[in-house]
């Protein structure tokens, strides 16, 4: 069965079909919740709430947006609601020792050992940089880089206009870049000498 078939079956009340959707999206939903909430405990709760909201709301899902976009929106809402309930709406704005508990699985990318190590360290710094960002900028960057959503899809998930998405991505990316440059762990390639000569 395809995703569309599972969505339709789940909308009609088939829990087995919904379970297939859970298996398909659980990592992506949890990954988004983890970066929005800032810690695994809240991320787990928010991700479960998002799936429960999806189960409840599927009969009314009109498929004007893709199922994934809709699910990410539910996840974003669940994270905001949870943080609001806990009174820590901007809790993840700054780095915290607790945040380092979030387990990260850095896969073997197939590079040599040195390169793999550097890649792993860079990824960890990116995670740290994301935690250091403001939630508004982190959300858009995660949806763009982690979930590969287009600007209009991000706008739909976060209930923003596209212009706001563009400006937040720009600022968020600059924030992250500056963070990586400051920590010294980010060593981007030097600009091409040919380009320098032409400039």
């Amino acid at each position: 069965m395809r995703e569309k078939d599972w969505v339709e079956a789940a909308a009609r009340g088939d829990p087995s079909a919904f379970e297939q959707l859970v298996l398909l999206y659980e990592k992506r939903v949890y990954a988004l919740a983890l970066r929005m909430c800032g810690n695994p405990e809240n991320a787990r709760e928010a991700a479960q709430e998002a799936f429960l909201a999806a189960w409840q709301g599927l009969p009314g899902f009109r498929q004007e947006a893709s199922f994934s976009t809709w699910l990410y929106r539910l996840t974003s809402n669940a994270c905001v609601d949870l943080l609001r309930r806990e009174g820590r709406h901007s809790a993840a704005a700054g780095p915290s020792l607790d945040d380092e508990e979030a387990p990260l699985a850095v896969p073997d990318t197939g590079h040599g050992p040195q390169e793999a190590l550097e890649q792993r360290e860079l990824r960890q710094q990116i995670e740290a940089g994301l935690r250091a960002m403001t939630p508004e900028h982190r959300q858009v960057l995660v949806l763009r880089e982690l979930h590969q959503l287009r600007y209009d899809e991000i706008a739909r998930v976060l209930d923003l206009d596209v212009g706001t998405v563009k400006s937040r991505i720009s600022r968020g990316r600059k924030q992250l870049r500056n963070f990586l440059l400051k920590t010294g762990n980010f060593s981007p390639p030097q600009p091409s000498k040919e380009a320098e000569k032409e400039g």
Partner: protein, 269 residues
């Protein structure tokens, strides 16, 4: 000509593939000549390369089971019914109520009891209709056309065409409402002996058949589907004569006493 700042503002959209092909080409041309912008794009792509991947996320233990347990423990609360499934039946019920309330059920001086009429069985009304047809002394005239579905249709040829449209076409589309109405109309036309009825004759015409023969008269009752006129014997005789001249033949039993009494003429709209 775009300034450096204008190109700089396009870099993120360029990295994210959100520019049109023409815009992307212009940015590429600028990158070839601007080390600062090229460095930014290079950094952004490096971040993307190293960015965590969702599929690499480590799920908490038992996450899937916990989700499905919650799903099974929380049945769907408010079923979102398409509005058609709620409002249309509701509208149909409302239309039925209106139809029954406004049903023209006047028997002259008599039966306004819509409930008793409505409950008359089809068999009873059919039997009464047969009695009336066979009893030439009843003084009841029936005009039968191809539209009359309650008894054997014996249409006057001239009654076909527009007259053959059928009474039920103008009634509610609801089958139940049409069936109820059919029973009511059968009860109306089947005036049994012994029942108090003021009319020595009843005549049903289409608007086309009636033409402007009754234009000078004021109907005693008007509904969405028909007009009802009461004629004295002289007026009724004149009407039937005029109808005969237009070629509309009537099955008639001569009224017992045509110098007194009232005839009911029903004109369909």
């Amino acid at each position: 000509m775009d300034t450096h700042d204008e190109f700089a503002a396009l870099l993120d959209a360029f990295v994210d593939g959100e520019l049109s092909p023409a815009e992307a080409d212009r940015v590429r041309a600028h990158l070839a000549a601007c080390p600062a912008c090229q460095a930014y794009v290079t950094d952004a792509l490096a971040i993307r390369e190293a960015f965590p991947e969702a599929e690499d996320t480590v799920l908490p233990e038992g996450f899937t089971d916990a989700v499905m347990t919650a799903v099974r423990a929380h049945p769907r609360k408010n079923k979102v019914l398409p509005w058609r499934k709620v409002l249309l039946p509701l509208a149909a019920c409302f239309a039925l109520v209106l139809l029954v309330r406004h049903m023209p059920l006047s028997f002259g001086g008599g039966a306004k009891d819509t409930a008793s009429v409505a409950t008359a069985s089809a068999a009873d009304t059919a039997e009464m209709a047969e009695d009336i047809q066979d009893d030439s002394d009843s003084g009841v005239m029936e005009y039968k056309s191809a539209r009359d579905t309650d008894s054997a249709p014996e249409a006057a040829p001239e009654a076909e065409g527009p007259a053959a449209q059928g009474f039920w076409d103008s009634a509610s589309a609801e089958e139940d409402a049409a069936a109820d109405h059919q029973e009511l109309m059968a009860a109306q036309t089947a005036i049994g002996p012994g029942e108090a009825e003021p009319y020595f004759a009843q005549l049903r015409l289409t608007a086309e058949e009636a033409g402007d023969l009754l234009a000078d008269l004021t109907p005693v009752e008007e509904s969405e589907t028909e007009l009802r006129y009461e004629l004295d014997a002289a007026g009724y005789s004149a009407l039937t004569a005029a109808l005969a001249e237009t070629g509309i033949a009537l099955e008639e039993s001569a009224p017992e006493d045509d110098s007194s009494g009232t005839a009911l003429v029903i004109v369909e709209k």
